[in-house]
């Protein structure tokens, strides 16, 4: 099981509670989150299915090797963080 959490910055636009899913790859895990909250997809992925350029996806604290390759296996990863670049200051 892997737990996915989303930045409050996304929660502001679309409700995305933390969820736990069973998945083999990052892409599968995200797909399951999108199934719960379809509106989330457009905030995380672009129309090519790649992670959007201001979104940061961490798998147990490690960045994605490639924004375009969501087939990256999760291995035994426990946690996926979906973050967004922060602008304020």
């Amino acid at each position: 099981m892997v737990r996915i959490t989303f930045t409050e910055n996304l929660v502001r636009h679309v409700a995305c509670p933390e969820i736990e899913v069973e998945a083999g790859t990052v892409g599968e895990a995200l797909e399951q989150a999108f199934r719960h909250v379809p509106a989330l997809r457009g905030y995380v992925l672009d129309d090519q299915g790649e992670v959007r350029k201001h979104v940061i996806v961490l798998i147990d604290g490690q960045g994605l090797a490639d924004r375009a390759r969501l087939g990256q296996p999760l291995g035994g990863a426990r946690r996926i963080h979906v973050l967004q670049a922060l602008s304020g200051g």
């Binding site: 930045t7 409050e8 910055n9 502001r12 636009h13 905030y43 959007r52 350029k53 201001h54 940061i56 961490l58 604290g61 490690q62 960045g63 090797a65 963080h81 973050l83 967004q84 670049a85 922060l86 602008s87 304020g88 200051g89």
Partner: protein, 343 residues
């Protein structure tokens, strides 16, 4: 009081020591932005004993800044003082030996060439991505270390960039979030503790960099949420992207773009208008002309304020202006041409 006594508690900290303190005293920091992040950073670094601070900010002090922006007072807000100038005033009272130079200007690529000296470090106190990419591209091109920081709501993020050694901001965030999706301090609010956490991280990296301890600088992205109480330094969060337009292919796109001449300020009912290049403006003369056409005309050494057509103008020397109470850049440009007209 001797400088040794003043900084004794910091010198006693062995990894910094006397040699580190001497390096701090000889160092110059370029700090862009004197808002929440910027004022905390300036306060910490000037107290730590840096030699020289070059401080840029394009904005003026407002009452709603006082909740989280140190160095400013109610008097600064009442006067609508330029943030860079007001901060420099307070910093001078804190340590009169630190050379603080205030620039009440937008930081643009050309600003770098006009600095009085080469900075040893660039610190991010800005509230927008276009300026951050300018800082990133300059830092990478000039090989000057810099530290990114951002904060909104209860969340914060920061990263130190050592050009040539670590990923840069574009490797982590190749493109800014679209304006509509970008939470700002005005739309999502901001808590002072997240500012303090982010600037604590930034200043700690700054002290290591300035005292020559690059090997101790945090590699990774610092992410914090002070409401959910999650704090983390993610070492593998960013990797160098060989295709990065900055540290990879050295295109430095932010250094080629011209800043737009009228731009809405971060979620606020205010627009900044830049004068045409080469335009000249005489604030004293303008103030005299406006005595009949505008209300509440106030002239200070750095700026002119007045109200016309329900819009509050703040015009800086050089012709840059902030217009409060206007919705669109187009409307601001019309009002600017009507009342300031620096062409």
């Amino acid at each position: 009081m001797s400088r040794d006594e003043r900084f004794s508690r910091q010198i006693r900290f062995a990894p910094l020591g006397r040699a580190g303190q001497e390096r701090l005293a000889a160092s110059t920091v370029l700090l862009v932005g004197a808002g929440a992040l910027g004022t905390h950073l300036a306060d910490t670094l000037v107290r730590a004993g840096i030699g020289r601070l070059l401080l840029f900010d394009r904005d003026v002090v407002e009452e709603s800044n006082l909740q989280r922006q140190v160095l400013f007072t109610e008097a600064h807000a009442r006067a609508g003082a330029a943030k860079a100038v007001a901060a420099a005033e307070s910093l001078h009272a804190i340590d009169s030996r630190c050379r603080v130079e205030a620039f009440a200007e937008e930081f643009v690529p050309a600003s770098f060439g006009q600095l009085p000296c080469r900075p040893d470090l660039i610190l991010d106190g800005t509230d927008n991505f276009p300026t951050r990419y300018v800082l990133n591209d300059l830092a990478v091109r000039e090989r000057i270390p810099w530290v990114y920081g951002g904060a909104v709501g209860a969340e914060g993020m920061a990263m130190a960039i050592l050009p040539g050694h670590t990923p840069c901001l574009r490797c982590l965030i190749p493109k800014a979030p679209p304006t509509g999706e970008q939470a700002t301090c005005e739309t999502a609010g901001i808590l002072a503790p997240v500012v303090q956490m982010v600037t604590a991280f930034q200043s700690a990296q700054a002290l290591k960099i300035l005292s020559g301890r690059h090997e101790d600088v945090a590699r990774g992205v610092f992410v914090v949420d002070v409401w959910k109480d999650s704090y983390g330094l993610y070492l593998g969060a960013a990797t160098r992207d060989p295709a990065c337009a900055s540290c990879g292919s050295a295109e430095f796109p932010a250094l080629r773009e011209q800043p737009p001449e009228a731009v809405k300020l971060c979620g606020r009912n205010a627009v900044q208008v830049l004068p045409d290049p080469g335009a000249r403006i005489d604030l004293e003369l303008l103030a005299r002309h406006l005595r009949t056409a505008a209300a509440e005309v106030e002239l200070s050494p750095y700026l002119l304020r007045f109200v016309a057509e329900n819009c509050r103008f703040t015009v800086f020397r050089g012709g840059r202006a902030l217009l409060f109470g206007v919705d669109t850049p187009e409307r601001a440009r019309v009002l600017y041409d009507r009342y300031v007209g620096a062409r």
